[in-house]
Symmetry: C2
Subunit: 696 residues, 2 copies
């Protein structure tokens, strides 16, 4: 097996995934959509989502263009020093990363906004057809995201043979994720909060009432936040994990003179995609089956297929079994962490019940107990991440005693690749959620009757349960990825040091005051970043509330439902506000990295990354899980517990849910992206930090 | 200047402080207390506080006795290996640490419960006399705490000449702090929340209504939490900073054959105490002066005196000017951090106004904005701590090129000593708060009239402002101390390694998977620890609410105010509950340290401590500041802003305040103690971790 054959095979697998995605897309589109109201509202949602993407693309074009110019001028070294072709390759790779990620997000949005109405109407024929529309719609996104990822990385490596270009590709994906995930997160919660504040609270109209000018923006938000944003996030993590693994693998291959390690990385990545395709193909549900177990069992099937396929490949191609073990270990730990996280947010488990019970004493106790369980929920995932880091390191350290530390780092990065191998399945399951969530709203607006609503409710609730699991999974996967990126950073620094004849960096000793200084600052950044996002959501929601008030005050007949509200105005506010609020937060993260790097050099940056990873993991687990917990505690109360709807406990639980919304959908998951972005910035600027810092 | 002369001088200074404290105590006691209601209630508070201390002492006796036996058997090495006398010294030092800290807490409580009534009555003669009673009452505590600290450390070192005995003394102080600070924190919030829930919310009676069975427990809580608890906390930090500095200083002295560095540490510590005495003596306030600036200016005066005194000593005794600079740097950074923290909690600044404004949209926005500003508030303190660590390291590194890393660590520990040098003044100002807070309540119950209430309100508000500053100060001081303790840990490990002929530990490289594993687990511990405390407060408050209901239902004439409630029952619940809830949380922290140590050895523990410090600092800054912010936002609304009392904004602000209570008075400040305890456990068990771990 030569490297180029492997790369071509990877590209082939990605086309298989695209082909399957196209087939699924056509299948979804062929499903009937006849109800007039559903068709209209679904069309409005589609237009709104497209408007957001268009606006995002414009801003992104300016941003990515600027970054591409900077890369062209300075990376890997100033262009006037004769590295033009390298710089050009890097700039193009960067742009490819943004474009491919944006494209797969666009495909996801398109199919999700097609599938929602069709899933609602299919529910008239029963649970199974409705489930299949939601699931296959989500799967299009899953296949597109992972296919684009494997395709992009393989192509960039095939053309350039250079891992720095892959890092630039990864940085492009991260830039897009910053806009899509963080911007989408602000968008969705802006609309959600504004719609609730004016609709449910002030006017006393139902959640999805079409008179509310924010109602379409709210539905658009589900798509741009949960479909496109989450897809970009996992695209980002997946590419970053491959980039991290490739940097080390190539280094090892260079010294050993073969391509075994790079081939292993591509082989495992391609097989992950293949396993996801097979997992989606074989997913099925009985006529009145349980959608949650259908979704979960497809995850298990994919995991199993992946383990078998990689084992066969390892045997056939003679890869190292230790590397295989690290890969499978990462995957298993990811699944276990997902299910541990589930404990803290599942409405059949103790934490949700206790938070619901505490709510009977008032909202302060909802908040206190939710924060407490959120804090606790971080422990298993932190231990799990720690264990998989440690074991994969120790496993691979012994592969070649001459390069024990490089193989050890390779082990960690392969564990991250393993954890992310089934990401196609994860994205599919995750994108299923907002589709059936929207389907539920559409079924209500379209007046499809109580029986249909019961079905869509069941599908929606399965989506929420699965989401909790995939969220824990994706945070841990991002955590392991950034740990691998830390190894990449050191490796990049040492490449530069070697070239410049400087002393090599052996590690980052916490007793070194520069490292410690970096750690302290780095640990504070995720807190500041998430605070800025939450305050941004708040400010933006206030703007939209004003607009809603204006419409109700100036548009005659709106309150009576005779005229349609100006939905687009609200979508505009959410869109422009999201982008306006995300830019300062993103700049704080990036500029602080650059500042620490130029002040304290590579040692301070090493510490900075570590501090950032530690507190970032902690806070994102805390915020995501606390948010999910509050959401389910509210639903648990609404199901009739602790006094049910309208009780004091319910009011308190609603407060918890409102606090939890930006926690779980804006700040918590955005921290992943923040960590990845600054890890890549640090790796790309390592030469500059090495040569131009003040204190070192 | 020989070492023994210096030690005797230190002991002399501590007696000066004790003498001055005794004089102040007598002065406070001589002030008139004539009002019958005030005398009665103040007596009840005193009895309640004594009951808590008594109960705490009993449990502590069992706990400390057990630990002392373990130390006697195992530290520094198993007693059957012939180290009986060393083990005995360690065990006795440990017990001295607990006893001295407990004694100074007891003195503080005694004078605070004497001073509260007298300060209330003095307010009839004007602001100045009332302020002086409060201030001097607080100063007794300040002098007692720091006097006991300097005395204890000097005596232990004079008798043993061994730094491990000082570490054991410090561990004793930490054990007591765990009970006093954590237990006191649970006690005070249990009573506060239960009193509010039943009194203000259910029965609609005022905050300090004597019919409420929890009202005395609530007032007792202020004393045991804020006076005794905070005193124990700063005693703990102060001793730990001296212990950390002494371990390194002695090592340096051993290799250089003189005692200069140890002498420097004692000299600077004694001068800090002396400066505090002088600062308290010269504190004054005009007849209608501003109490806040009186308190703050006494802090500046102490800082100035300290800088001058230490400069003179450095010149006269020929200490290193670099060490002096590190010491003063620590002190200045501490003061600056205190004032930065103040920005986030001061009711004349933007964050408080914005949180109050957000409250108009409902409690969810109070919480979201408060959490956001709380997150942001961590940044300046983290940067400040990072800068003082880095500069003090770099400054002292060059003192002796042969021992650059030891001198660098010495620099950090001296910065911590510097930051804690004015702790006598800080404790005085801090203990002033609960005294005048109680005085305000007593003036109301005693019916002293509106003019008096105005004065006590002004004094109380000054107490709150100053508290915010001292809190930021004490968290950073604890942070710097534990960073210094990290150096101690490494030094202890290497002493053991040298003795055992094992390889020396050069540092803790974050790229070492054992270190990284430790960091991930260590970072999660403060989150779990604070979650357990918050849930404990909640559980305990529910128990007290039940008891209050019982009393109102079964005691005839209680509602009408004809019969006194059974105050003691509530105090009992708060006391026993506090101890019951703190033990599991303390055990989780200590057992996880031991588990990580025996699994991953000294490298994992090094990482564990770093992770713990980073996330602990972050979370304690976040929780303390968010809590203070909510408290002041509520007061700001109550002062008539955003609709004033009774408005929706007020209701929301009350929710924020209730969430903030356990944040700022239980969980946030307890994290300090948790970090110190495990740092000391790690240092003391370093030999065991070095020789008996599974993975290393």
């Amino acid at each position: 097996m030569t490297l180029s054959v492997m790369l071509l095979l990877s590209i082939l697998v990605s086309f298989v995934a695209f082909g399957y995605a196209a087939w699924l897309f056509v299948w979804v589109k062929k499903q009937p959509q006849e109800n007039a109201v559903i068709t209209k509202v679904s069309g409005l949602i589609q237009q709104g989502a497209r408007a957001f993407l268009k606006r995002q693309d414009q801003i992104l074009l300016a941003f990515a263009g600027g970054v591409a110019v900077i890369i062209l001028l300075f990376l890997p070294s100033p262009v006037w020093k004769g590295s033009f072709s390298k710089n050009l390759i890097n700039a193009i790779s960067y742009l490819c990363g943004t474009v491919l990620s944006a494209l797969s997000g666009k495909i996801g949005i398109e199919v999700a906004t097609l599938a929602n109405g069709r899933s609602a109407e299919a529910a008239q024929k029963g649970l199974k057809p409705s489930f299949m529309v939601g699931f296959r719609g989500g799967a299009v996104m899953g296949m597109a995201v992972v296919g684009a990822c494997v395709l992009g990385v393989s192509l960039v490596y095939l053309v350039t043979g250079d891992t720095q270009a892959v890092l630039c590709f990864s940085f492009g994906a991260s830039s897009l994720a910053l806009f899509a995930k963080v911007g989408g997160g602000i968008f969705t919660k802006t609309a959600d909060i504004a719609a609730d504040l004016t609709g449910k609270v002030e006017l006393g109209i139902p959640e999805d009432d079409p008179r509310n000018p924010a109602v379409i923006a709210d539905n658009v938000g589900d798509n741009v936040g949960d479909v496109a944003g989450m897809g970009a996030d996992l695209f980002d993590s997946n590419v970053a994990s491959l980039a991290a693994a490739l940097v080390i693998a190539r280094k090892l291959d260079l010294v050993s003179g073969h391509h075994n390690n790079v081939i292993t990385v591509f082989c495992y990545a391609a097989l992950g995609l293949l396993a996801s395709v097979l997992g989606v193909m074989t997913a099925k549900i009985g006529k009145n089956g349980n959608p949650t177990s259908a979704l979960n069992s497809s995850t298990y099937v994919t995991t199993g297929i992946y383990a078998v396929l990689t084992a066969i490949a390892t045997a056939v191609f003679g890869f190292s079994w230790k590397v295989w073990a690290a890969c499978i270990l990462g995957l298993l730990v990811g699944v276990v962490i997902g299910f541990t996280t589930d404990y803290f947010t599942d409405d059949t488990k103790k934490p949700v019940h206790l938070v619901a019970h505490a709510s009977a004493s008032g909202p302060a106790f909802t908040i206190l107990s939710g924060i407490s369980y959120g804090f606790m929920s971080s422990l298993p995932a932190m231990i799990g991440t720690g264990i998989s880091t440690m074991i994969s390191y120790k496993l691979c350290e012994s592969i070649d005693p001459a390069f024990s530390s490089e193989y050890a780092l390779f082990g960690i990065s392969i564990a991250a690749v393993g954890m992310l191998s089934i990401v196609g399945m994860i994205v599919s399951n995750d994108a299923y959620g907002p589709i059936v969530d929207n389907a539920r709203g559409l079924a209500e607006m379209g007046g499809l009757g109580d029986e249909v609503l019961e079905i869509t409710d069941e599908l929606d609730s399965a989506g929420n349960t699965v989401k909790a699991i995939t969220k824990g999974f994706s945070i841990s996967a991002a955590g392991l990825t950034v740990i691998a990126l830390l190894g990449t950073f050191m490796s990049e620094v040492n490449d530069a040091a070697l070239e410049l004849g400087m002393e090599l960096v052996k590690g980052f000793d916490v007793m070194d005051p520069l490292v410690f200084f970096g750690m302290l600052v780095g640990a504070a950044i995720p807190a500041v970043f998430s605070a800025m996002l939450m305050l941004g959501v708040d400010r933006n929601a206030q703007r939209m509330v004003e607009e809603i008030h204006r419409q109700f005050n100036t548009i005659d007949g709106l309150k009576e439902g005779k005229v349609d509200p100006e939905y687009n105005k609200c979508i505009d506010i959410a869109t422009s506000g999201a982008i306006r609020e995300l830019i300062p937060a993103g700049l704080v993260a990036i500029m602080s990295t650059i500042a620490v790097g130029f002040i304290g050099g590579v040692y301070a940056i090493g510490g900075f990354l570590v501090g950032n990873i530690l507190s970032g993991l902690l806070l994102s687990l805390f915020m995501s899980n606390a948010g999910g917990l509050w959401d389910n505690a509210k639903k648990y109360v609404e199901a009739g517990n602790e006094g049910g709807k309208g009780s004091e406990a319910h009011k308190a639980a609603v407060v918890g849910d409102t606090v939890g919304d930006p926690f779980k959908d804006t700040a918590g998951p955005s921290i992943n992206t923040q960590i990845t972005v600054i890890s890549l910035v640090a790796s790309l600027l390592s030469t500059l930090f090495l040569t131009m810092s003040i204190l070192h």
